[in-house]
Symmetry: C2
Subunit: 214 residues, 2 copies
DNA sequence: TAGATTGTTAATCGATTAACAATC
DNA sequence: TAGATTGTTAATCGATTAACAATC
């Protein structure tokens, strides 16, 4: 395990971008890539690419840059997509449904294996290939499927209960779309994605730009 | 304009969280709040709250902390929600529709005033109160409505064209869900939200936690 | 060789945290 | 007063960038 340099969230984000980009490059048949080319495609600097790859222990050559298939393999393994990862989605509203749709044909090692909702109308069927269950059976289904991650798209009021049940059933990573600060044990990783916050940020900086224009 | 301290993306994100939280607190009728209470509700430290509020030039009292309605007013103004901000959405797929739904009853000063799609089946109607147009008229509609922000939920291949048209029509802020690095003039603010990247990040750290558990 | 790129260290930058006098 | 909180500065921490010898 490469524990010398701390692997931050930011580095993982970039590695994920590299991976997606490298997949495309690989499909196009390009065998090699230079740090500055990969950097440009991912919106980062060449120095960052070199340092990140150094951090995961991958080396290139000063003559041909980095070997694309080899690097892709390395990054994929580093991110843990050598083996399948299972996740579940809770809350089959509009956003939940959009995410179910989104997963069709994405990273084949990230498997959305079940979805849950309180509303009886939305469950006991298959949406975009994913079986939907009532939340009442969530705990047992998650444990049985050994899902490691949960995506929470339920209303604010239900989010904490959902999170607690998921964690009890063995989930160690949560992607939370509800605007609440979830209380979870320290070993559980939580990423909050509050669309309102993101939009307000864009609104602020859009306003700043518009002001400067004048 | 408070230009002494640079206002970073991170500060704006926190201010947005404070604002949402303060709205709720205000509705509940609480008149005052201490930095550590607001901090806990927003998942940050008390020192950060104090420093952020100092940055926007707001003062509290050491006896009663911060005045809730006054602070709410100040943060709202600082973020530019004193006046209405108009935005448009391009790409009425599942994700686009989820966002259209999302906007019902959110921040009333962030107005989603139009949506666009190439698919004729999806346009010339009203979804969740938002009128949907064909992309062919996007430029003129955006300019006419003086929209400042654009949300891009079209496929990767179409994103750059959409972005260029929006920018030409006066948009200065973009929220981009497509996994491409958009090329825009430097005065335009772009926030990329790649759901795959976010999920792969959660997957990585979920895996790390699971490993530690053993 | 000449020129470009990598690997890696040192310097810079910015953000967070600690600390504490001033205030109520 | 005694105790808690604010406003603000200094210290710490971490991430990015600059720089350059080693390599091809």
């Amino acid at each position: 395990m490469p524990d010398k340099t701390k692997i931050s969230k930011r580095i993982i984000e970039r590695l994920s971008e590299y991976r997606t980009t490298l997949e495309e490059i690989d499909i196009h048949g390009n065998r090699n890539i230079y740090s500055h080319d990969l950097a440009k495609l991912c919106g980062v600097t060449a120095a960052q690419v070199r340092r990140d790859l150094m951090n995961i222990g991958f080396s290139g050559s000063s003559a041909r840059g980095y070997d694309v298939p080899e690097l892709l393999q390395n990054v994929t393994n580093f991110l843990g997509f050598g083996e399948e990862r299972r996740m579940v989605l809770v809350g089959i509203g509009h956003l939940g449904r959009a995410l179910l749709d989104f997963f069709v044909d994405r990273n084949p090692k990230l498997v959305l294996c079940a979805a849950f909702d309180v509303n009886e109308m939305r469950v006991n069927r298959v949406i975009h290939g994913v079986r939907c269950y009532p939340v009442s059976v969530m705990g047992e289904v998650v444990a049985e499927m050994q899902a490691q991650m949960g995506i929470i798209t339920v209303p604010e009021s239900a989010a904490q209960d959902v999170a607690s049940t998921l964690v009890e059933s063995g989930v160690t990573g949560l992607l939370n779309f509800a605007p609440v600060q979830l209380r979870v044990p320290s070993h559980v990783f939580v990423e909050n994605l509050n669309i309102s916050t993101v939009l307000e940020k864009v609104a602020y900086f859009a306003g700043q730009s518009a002001e400067k224009e004048r």
